[in-house]
């Protein structure tokens, strides 16, 4: 390890203060700190610090995403071969999926990190780790056959407009990954919705129908998938959103490590269930009478609530605010699904909508705290 350390220290010499490439220090530091936790010691404030840092937190999210990603890759191949009616092994399906998905991940990381590095050098701050998660999330919530250049443009849009325009990691109002998806959704609707995009090669091979459950329901059709299918995920959909079980496993890790807010997750599921039950009672069309439990399992609901709504930067930041935010995300998600059949993917729009309102929710929560303090002051004035 020492020789590696020496090598890096030598490589870093031209990037030191006052040297030729000083300006590019954030770029090389990003690689250095990926290999080694720096030897920085505390200069002011508390002399001792917790072992946790942003890298560790972000990597925990990535670990939580892996089950859903692996299943998503497998399911990509599974849907393809299953609908073709060919016989196939697990490896066949996995390789087919990997062949489709890995390039998307690579494009997302390359484009996104290049922009992030550029901004870090330009602004002279270290590269924040936020994009490690965003960059993985973006391909996971795209339909599998979206052209790579569209992924690239969506990523660029989201990093520039949703993130860096607001000041970078920690300052954004909207969830960057969802912004990328929303951009693609409105810019290239034919690649992002309809009944020909959700299964690999569906637009090229006629025997494949790429309809999602929610798409079928919105069209007023019956669906042939069971609750069991939805829970385990052998259904068409965006790459990694289909399997509620693997998504929940990741969610369990997020909640247990405290990285994802259990308040938002629980609030989201409660809000969603509440709204879906009300619609069940109403039952005016196929989507309304779709069983409430299935509502929570189908589409991107679980994935959105667990991995997107919990993004701490764009979510509400106070404990009470998190409850309100989570519940409203759940309610709006089911509402948009049901009332607007053109957008069966209500979860994306619901979360983006609530991202915009999260600061307002926090404002009222904090305002009540401020008022409590003011009232206490008024009371003492009255007494004296």
């Amino acid at each position: 390890m020492n020789s590696l350390r020496r090598l890096i220290d030598n490589l870093k010499k031209p990037f030191a203060k006052g040297e030729k490439f000083e300006k590019f220090a954030p770029a090389i530091n990003a690689f250095d700190t990926l290999l080694f936790v720096p030897n920085h010691t505390t200069k002011s404030g508390s002399h001792i610090r917790d072992a946790v840092d942003l890298k560790r937190t972000m990597v925990t999210v990535i670990i939580a995403l892996i089950p859903a990603l692996v299943y998503g890759i497998y399911n990509t191949g599974y849907q393809y071969y299953y609908q073709l009616g060919e016989s196939f092994t697990f490896m066949d399906a996995f390789i087919h999926g990997a062949w489709k998905v890995i390039p998307m991940i690579a494009v997302s990381y390359i484009v996104g990190l290049t922009i992030e590095f550029g901004f870090a050098v330009y602004r002279g701050h270290e590269v924040n780790e936020g994009y490690l998660v965003t960059g993985l999330l973006i391909p996971m919530i795209m339909p599998v056959d979206i052209p790579l250049w569209m992924v690239a443009i969506s990523v660029a849009f989201s990093v520039f407009v949703a993130k860096e325009a607001f000041g970078g990691t920690g300052m954004n109002i909207l969830n960057p990954a969802l912004t990328a998806r929303a951009f693609a959704f409105f810019a290239y609707p034919t690649y992002m919705s309809g009944n020909k995009v959700w299964v690999s090669e569906a637009s090229n091979v006629d025997s494949i129908s790429g309809e999602t459950i929610l798409g079928s329901l919105a069209a007023g059709d019956q669906i042939s998938y069971s609750t069991y299918d939805m829970f385990f995920g052998s259904i068409p959909g965006s790459i990694a959103e289909t399997s509620a079980s693997w998504v929940l496993l990741g969610g369990l890790l997020l909640v247990m490590t405290g990285v994802g807010s259990w308040r938002i997750i629980l609030g989201g599921f409660l809000g969603g269930a509440f709204m879906a039950i009300i619609f069940n009672l109403w039952g005016a069309n196929e989507l309304m009478s779709f069983n409430w439990l299935n509502h929570l399992l189908a589409g991107g609901f679980a994935f959105g609530i667990i991995f997107m709504a919990t993004d701490p930067v764009s979510a509400a930041q106070t404990s009470k605010g998190k409850w309100i935010y989570g519940i409203l995300v759940g309610i709006f998600c089911i509402m948009i699904r049901v009332f607007n059949p053109a957008y069966p993917e209500g979860v994306m729009l619901a979360i983006l909508l609530m991202n915009v309102f999260a600061p307002t929710i926090d404002h009222f929560v904090i305002e009540s705290n401020i008022n409590r303090r003011k009232k206490r002051w008024v009371l003492t004035q009255v007494k004296s």
């Binding site: 404030g45 002399h47 610090r49 924040n128 780790e129 247990m256 701490p312």
Partner: protein
């Protein structure tokens, strides 16, 4: 007659290196030092020059803003040097002790009959005023105010804390006398904050209201106790004083001489002979280290105070004016290969569940000064609230301080906090935010703009 409070947020850091309960008299050191930096926001105006002979209790300087507040010499001897920094800022006033032990003597035996303003005058002249701090802000109080109450936290929950009962139990009479004096200064009560499991002499102190506090650090911080019992509103003043200074104050009114007694604990796992020392304010730290057979190397950091909020200082510096603790910490300037991966390096204490460290929470941990990461934008929310037991939103307050938004700082509760209350937030922050520094500059801004 106990008021009970229960603190839920916070944590006791289980760190190796507590002092054994042995008190040893430290022999007199050759030189003593007083550092104006110990007095937050005070601008000193010198009263002595190099070569002056001073007694124990002779004023060394006073506060430019309030000339009534004197800062006195803790020892009799000769002012041998006044060390200045950039812009001629006074860093240290060094006094070489003599053997005479001369003290400035005041007439205090009749203190029970003296009116309040004369009691105040005695405290000011004798040099005891700097020990009485105030909330808001955690700065030295102003003698013109009448506080609505006075708080003394008689237990400490900081890492490797001292046991005030152990170090003061022989001074019960002085402590009681000190409390009686304090009682006269306030229109309200004197509160003693006691650990809920406590069974020591503080329980027998009269003329006070006792608070029984249950919960982890920072429950021992006086600011937390004030917040729960008698919260500060706009315009309120609450005074605070450390337990040993209460007994010093009592000793002064008993003898008429400035008492600079300080019982300190030397702590930190790299020190072998960790124990309590009886000494006086301003003792040279090298004397303390020498007496405990500790050789200080570059790999050690000496801290005047505790690991969370103390001031780093060199081994040739002097004991601070307020602290009962000298902490020795290992420097952590080493790299850790891939140390950011979750669930690796579990030997490093972590409050986050992204490490298995919580699994070994009963074990005493070794700590060092490594940042364990780099500063980043604030991303994670909710972690500060877990270690901050006040009805205040800490992250929002920190952001208001960063924005220098005075109105917002006021609304969010800047009057109730002091930097030390944010020690655990510094510690726990994923983004390595310097919360104490931010709050400190926020408080400075408040003092300059609002007063």
């Amino acid at each position: 007659m106990f008021k009970k409070i229960k603190i839920h947020q916070g944590v006791n850091l289980n760190i190796d290196g507590e002092a054994e309960k042995i008190i040893v008299d430290l022999p007199k050191s050759l030189t003593y030092g007083v550092k104006p930096d110990d007095f937050f926001t005070i601008v000193p105006k010198l009263l002595v020059k190099e070569g002056d002979i001073v007694k124990n209790g002779t004023p060394l300087f006073f506060s430019k803003k309030n000339p009534r507040i004197n800062f006195v010499s803790p020892v009799s001897g000769e002012v041998t040097s006044i060390i200045r920094g950039p812009k001629r800022k006074i860093l240290e006033i060094i006094i070489t002790a003599d053997k005479k032990n001369d003290s400035v003597v005041f007439q205090t035996s009749n203190h029970e009959k003296l009116p309040l303003n004369e009691i105040k005058e005695l405290i000011l002249k004798s040099g005891f005023w700097p020990f009485i701090k105030q909330r808001p802000y955690g700065v030295i109080s102003s003698p013109e105010d009448t506080p609505k109450s006075i708080f003394v936290s008689c237990f400490s929950t900081v890492p490797l804390a001292v046991d005030y009962d152990f170090l003061l139990k022989k001074d019960k009479e002085d402590f009681q006398l000190g409390v009686n004096i304090l009682k006269r200064l306030t229109s309200g009560n004197v509160y003693l904050g006691l650990d809920s499991s406590f069974n020591g002499f503080f329980k027998e102190i009269e003329n006070v209201k006792k608070i029984s506090v249950d919960g982890p650090h920072p429950s021992g911080n006086v600011g937390i106790q004030i917040h729960k019992i008698d919260p500060i509103n706009y315009g309120d003043k609450v005074w605070t004083i450390n337990p040993e200074d209460v007994s010093n104050l009592g000793a002064f009114f008993r003898t008429g001489k400035f008492s600079s007694k300080r019982t300190i604990a030397l702590v930190g796992s790299s020190v072998k002979k960790r124990q309590y020392y009886k000494t006086i304010i301003g003792t040279s730290i090298s004397k303390i280290l020498e007496f405990s057979d500790f050789e200080c190397s570059n790999n050690n950091r000496i801290i005047n105070g505790d690991l969370l909020s103390g001031d780093a200082t060199g081994p040739n510096s002097y004991l601070g004016y307020y602290n009962n603790l000298i902490s020795v910490l290992e420097e952590g300037n080493t790299h850790r290969f891939m140390g950011w991966i979750p669930f690796v390096d579990n030997h490093i204490l972590s409050l986050s569940r992204t490490s298995f460290s919580w699994f070994f929470s009963k074990k005493k941990h070794n700590v060092n000064s490594n940042m364990n990461g780099e500063e980043r934008a604030i991303v994670v929310t909710g972690e500060m609230e877990k270690v901050f037991p006040m009805d205040i939103y800490p992250m929002e307050l920190i952001k208001a301080c960063l924005n220098e938004d005075i109105e917002k700082m006021e609304a969010l509760g800047i009057y109730e906090v002091a930097p030390e209350d944010f020690g655990l937030i510094d510690y726990a922050s994923t983004s390595k935010i310097e919360a104490q520094e931010i709050i400190k500059s926020g408080i400075e801004l408040m003092i300059n703009e609002v007063g």
